[in-house]
């Protein structure tokens, strides 16, 4: 076989194509590197001005006053604890709504529903997943929050117009398809032999599901829940539109709280120089957010992978 000039050209062209493909594949890595680098870089500059302990453990968040009084290093004005608590409060409400609804919907669709019902309901739940979060935010702020306020007042409760409950409820509905879809997959993957074993003993369907199927599917379901929590923590538009702007350290869902994502948006929209402590604080918050969701996501994927090994 001779290496003709034509063949040599072809080899070079092919080599170039391969190089191009490899280069494009590195974009994914570059993106992650870029995210980590930019967040770290700016956050480190922030921690140069505000000590990290103040940020992580401080109880007072009022970045505006810090600048006005020219007390850049004032302790307590960049304390992010109220933000963490607010984020957790709203995410907890969202999970309280989404976890049972999503799980039971998945159980019903996987184990009880007629195939036609399953074929109709699954796409409808997918629609919930496809609606832009700004639409959910609009609904939360302009319909749910006033309704909650009105109902609350009628019953005698004092409900804020930016209550954590309103934002958490709507966020919960948004997460339902995430939980139901993942849970449906893992429940369907449990081998029929296991169910047969329980039926053969005289167990009812619900007993089989509760005692055998769900425990077998539990790692996968937990993985799905972790992914859902990660999604709730990172959600921005619903909370920006429906939750409050003022930091408030409370566990009362009827009050207004603010979250990490809301503060990132507030600190960065509007005109200010890039270098002020306020904008750098946003990057510090962004770093916390990225780190937390990364841990949750890696944990979730790890659990799901381990579970898959069990049955393959």
């Amino acid at each position: 076989m001779y290496v003709t000039p034509a063949r040599r050209v072809k080899q070079t062209v092919e080599g170039a194509i391969k190089l191009l493909l490899i280069a494009s594949s590195t974009v994914a890595i570059l993106t992650t590197v870029g995210i980590v680098a930019s967040l770290l870089f700016e956050a480190i500059r922030f921690f140069g001005e505000i000590p990290m302990t103040d940020f992580l453990f401080g109880l007072e968040w009022s970045p505006q006053t810090a600048i006005r009084d020219d007390q850049v290093g004032s302790s307590g004005a960049f304390g992010a604890v109220p933000l963490f608590v607010g984020t957790l409060l709203i995410s907890a409400i969202a999970m309280i709504v989404a976890a049972p609804v999503g799980l039971f919907a998945a159980i019903y669709l996987a184990e009880y529903a007629h195939i036609k019902v399953r074929g109709t309901v699954k796409p409808i739940l997918e629609i919930l997943a496809g609606i832009p979060t700004v639409v959910y935010g609009f609904f939360a702020a302009l319909v749910v929050a006033p309704w909650l306020r009105g109902t609350g007042e009628a019953v005698g409760f004092d409900v804020s117009s930016e209550s954590a409950l309103a934002a958490g409820l709507v966020m919960g509905v948004m997460i339902i398809p995430l939980i139901s879809s993942l849970s449906d997959d893992v429940i369907s993957a449990v081998p029929q032999a296991m169910r047969d074993g329980a039926y053969g003993l005289g167990a009812t369907k619900s007993e089989t599901i509760r005692n055998v199927v769900i425990p077998a599917a539990l790692p996968g379901i937990m993985g799905g829940m972790l992914l859902a929590v990660s999604r709730a923590i990172g959600e921005t538009m619903i909370v920006v539109m429906a939750a409050g702007l003022a930091a408030n350290l409370t566990a009362n869902p009827l009050e207004a709280v603010t979250t990490v994502t809301v503060q990132i948006v507030t600190l960065l929209t509007g005109d200010q120089e890039f270098d002020s402590a306020k904008t750098l604080a946003a990057f510090a918050l962004g770093l916390m957010l990225f780190a937390t969701t990364l841990v949750l996501n890696v944990g979730a994927l790890h659990i799901v992978k381990k579970y898959r090994e069990q049955y393959d």
Binding site: G197, G200, L201, A203, A216
Partner: protein, 273 residues
């Protein structure tokens, strides 16, 4: 012992009729089974005596497992499966209206081809049946049931000191004996076994065959097997299935040494199947 499956009538109501009409534990009369439009079993008439091992033999795909699953109504879980005819347990048709499937399956237990222990501890595997049926009033009673069942299944010596270990951690043969213990724990009257040794090595198989021989003293056993040697070793009665029909049934020795039907002859001599 006549135990009514009908939940709203007293047990005594059935005693008189059934003692006279049916000396066999399980009888099938004119049973046809359809999967959708396809007919899997044609006009099956089978008598299964108590406290014996009845083997169902025949080439693969001829409906033996399908028939077995009819006996405890496991085919109810399969979409599109239709059964006509009568299957009687102690003279009562198990497909009659008002029959409680849950109770039926406590009376007719099942062991599957591939061992399928639950992802729970050995103790919890065996205790599962008694727990859901409410057969033990106290933890001590439950312990008793579990240990007795493991003993009857010949597994107690090997697992006595690790009852909390997961059931899936045992070897294939041990898992199958665990499944047998699990089935026994509910004190069924009949045990259905669907090729229980086909996934096991010869030594484990031998142990299980020994176990089956002991179990027949207290239980009626119906076993599907594709191994004629196993049927000859273990069973007292044999039924030969071929292409969805029950060709011949009778004493095991007769079926193997002196079959009446030429198809049975062809199968046992190895010319078909």
């Amino acid at each position: 012992m006549e135990l009514s499956l009908h939940t709203n009538l007293p047990s005594s109501a059935y005693v008189e009729d059934n003692l006279v009409s049916s000396p066999h534990k399980v009888t099938a009369q004119g049973v046809d089974v359809y999967y959708g439009d396809k007919q899997a079993l044609k006009n099956i008439n089978l008598d299964v005596p108590s406290n014996m091992v009845t083997a169902l033999i025949g080439p693969s795909g001829c409906g033996k497992s399908t028939f077995l699953r009819c006996l405890n109504r496991m085919n109810d879980v399969v979409d599109g499966c239709r059964i006509t005819g009568q299957i009687k347990l102690d003279g009562e048709d198990i497909y009659a209206r008002g029959v409680d499937v849950v109770h039926l399956r406590a009376r007719v237990g099942m062991v599957f081809q591939k061992p399928n222990p639950f992802p729970k501890s050995i103790y919890d595997n065996v205790a599962y049946g008694p727990r859901i049926h409410g057969l033990a009033d106290s933890r001590a009673e439950l312990d008793d049931i579990v240990l007795t069942s493991l003993e009857k299944a010949g597994l107690i010596a090997e697992v006595r000191d690790r009852l909390e270990a997961p059931g899936t951690g045992l070897s294939g043969g041990q898992q199958q004996r665990l499944c047998i213990a699990r089935a026994i724990a509910v004190e069924p009257e009949v045990i259905l076994m669907d090729e229980p040794c086909s996934a096991l090595d010869p030594i484990a198989t031998a142990k299980i065959e020994e176990l089956i021989d002991e179990l027949k003293q207290n239980y009626t056993i119906i076993m599907v097997t594709h191994s004629m040697q196993q049927a000859a070793r273990v069973s007292q009665k044999t039924a030969f299935f071929h292409l969805g029909e029950l060709v011949e049934q009778g004493d095991t020795s007769d079926i193997f040494t002196n079959p009446s039907d030429e198809r049975t002859q062809a199968y046992v001599t190895g010319r078909i199947g």
